[in-house]
């Protein structure tokens, strides 16, 4: 279970502190698939960072009773000067898992071939996403954070990810941020709509999508 209690997040900006999350209360239980919708800048990714633990909330608490992944296909934690292999080694080291077992999987899944021995700096963004996704799959988590992951990679790779994630790991909890309604509809059983730093929960996709479209129609100021 992951429990957020009265979580707020503020960032300093030139025009004073800006509150991105305004008192979020949220519980995610084992196996739930939670879809998050909202406009750009609404706080979706901030929420992911706070849940993932990359950033502490300004106030409020985050309790984690299950292991939470880093955002899938997220390349930020990788170093551009290191090779794909070295980045995999780093992840294996900090999670204390055997590197050799994982290497075969990453080779096979990413299909990057000789590029695995090149620094990430020379990868295309699609290649980086392939590597990142493959490495993400080498560590077993109870809850996966998925922030717009399917926007990357070509169709065949996307299909592969889908199988790996939604078929093989269907019993895991997932938190999915996406603008693609088709994608959310089929996978999630809870939906959160972001609006002015707060969330509204819906069980039914069509309902949340209706509201989301209304939101999109409103003029937006950041």
């Amino acid at each position: 279970m992951i429990q957020l209690t009265d979580v707020t997040k503020q960032y300093p900006t030139k025009s004073g502190p800006r509150t991105i999350l305004k008192g979020i209360n949220l519980t995610i239980r084992k196996g739930e698939h939670v879809g998050i919708l909202g406009r750009n800048g609404a706080g979706k990714s901030t929420l992911v960072r706070v849940i993932g633990g990359a950033e502490p909330p300004t106030t409020g608490t985050v309790e984690r009773e299950m292991s939470v992944s880093w955002p899938l296909a997220f390349t930020g934690g990788f170093h551009a000067k290191l090779t794909g292999i070295d980045n995999l080694r780093f992840i294996c080291r900090i999670y204390g898992v055997d590197f050799h077992d994982r290497l075969d999987f990453v080779k096979d899944f990413s299909e990057l071939g000789a590029y695995l021995y090149e620094p990430l700096g020379v990868y295309s963004s699609g290649m980086r996403a392939r590597l990142a996704f493959a490495i993400s799959m080498t560590i077993d988590f109870d809850c996966y954070l998925i922030d717009e992951v399917m926007a990357v990679g070509d169709d065949s790779f996307r299909e592969k990810c889908k199988v790996e994630l939604f078929e093989k790991r269907a019993d895991k909890a997932m938190l999915i941020v996406s603008h693609s309604h088709r994608y959310l509809k089929g996978t999630c059983n809870r939906f959160l709509l972001f609006r002015d730093g707060t969330i509204q929960e819906y069980d039914d996709f069509d309902e949340v999508y209706e509201k989301y479209k209304e939101l999109l129609a409103e003029p937006q100021t950041f």
Partner: protein
């Protein structure tokens, strides 16, 4: 402690935490080493080449001009001790300033915390400067350009104390730099200003009393004097107050750990 184990139990024992800590530091050290020095050996070589060039240049300059550096100590060893010490207290903060800003994505791996990033960088810097110090002495010694230290133990103790000071300073400046860009801008000029006062180019005995008194408030100068006394032994009359440095370091360490907890870490909300 944050729960780090993969099976997500929050009751990780102290021992378990230590294992995770060790794992993370090990991983970060290798990562830092690879990104800094690269796989080819030339990158690593610069660690020694740069101070070696400096030492050679200073030796040449001072031998040629016979500039008064306050004593008739062997100039090469004098330059090595001074420059190596300076590298340590200057580079540790240099590596820790903005270290977290550039590495926030790493914090998605919750077992990696800001203090780990600082520690790994400090350890690497300490290892680098120590290796460069030892290798320089060996290299010059092989060519009969320097003698070996008279009291190696004292040199080591002084070196460790200086490293401790550098580490404390590094974390404090690192933590402040996360909040204010000024640190990043001001530390380089400030460290250049401190450089001449830190004993790299003089010994305290050559100063007038008043200047001695004031400059010995600088912890690194005390350390350099202590190291040099160990190195040159009876050949030099050193001035230092190591208890003062220890107290200074203790305060600095407390401050550093407090700041990391308050400002940057904020990780124990689990």
């Amino acid at each position: 402690m944050a729960s780090n184990s993969l099976n997500s139990s929050s009751e990780g024992s102290f021992r378990q935490s230590l294992v995770v800590q060790g794992r993370v530091l090990h991983a970060l050290l290798i990562r830092e080493m690879l990104t800094r020095y690269g796989r080819n050996n030339l990158g690593f070589l610069w660690l020694f080449l740069e101070p070696m060039l400096f030492t050679l240049a200073v030796t040449a300059l001072w031998t040629a001009t016979r500039t008064i550096h306050g004593s008739d100590l062997p100039i090469t060893a004098f330059a090595i001790t001074g420059y190596a010490s300076m590298l340590m207290w200057r580079n540790m903060p240099g590596r820790c300033i903005n270290a977290i800003k550039g590495n926030t994505p790493l914090m998605f791996h919750r077992q990696v915390r800001p203090l780990d990033v600082y520690t790994s960088r400090i350890l690497l810097e300490f290892g680098g400067s120590s290796a460069s110090f030892v290798l320089l002495v060996m290299a010059f010694w092989a060519f009969d350009a320097v003698a070996l230290p008279e009291d190696a133990l004292q040199v080591v103790v002084g070196w460790l104390t200086l490293g401790w000071f550098g580490a404390g300073l590094a974390i404090v400046l690192g933590a402040v730099s996360e909040k204010s860009d000024l640190v990043d801008k001001l530390w380089p000029p400030f460290s250049y200003l401190l450089f001449p006062f830190s004993g790299a180019a003089f010994i305290v005995d050559s100063l007038p009393d008043k200047a001695r008194e004031i400059l010995l408030y600088l912890p690194m100068l005390n350390c350099v004097e202590f190291i040099r006394e160990g190195y040159f032994g009876t050949k030099m009359h050193a001035h230092y107050d190591m208890p003062y440095v220890i107290v200074f370091n203790l305060v600095l360490t407390l401050l550093a750990l407090g700041m990391v907890r308050m400002h940057v870490v904020e990780a124990d909300y689990e």
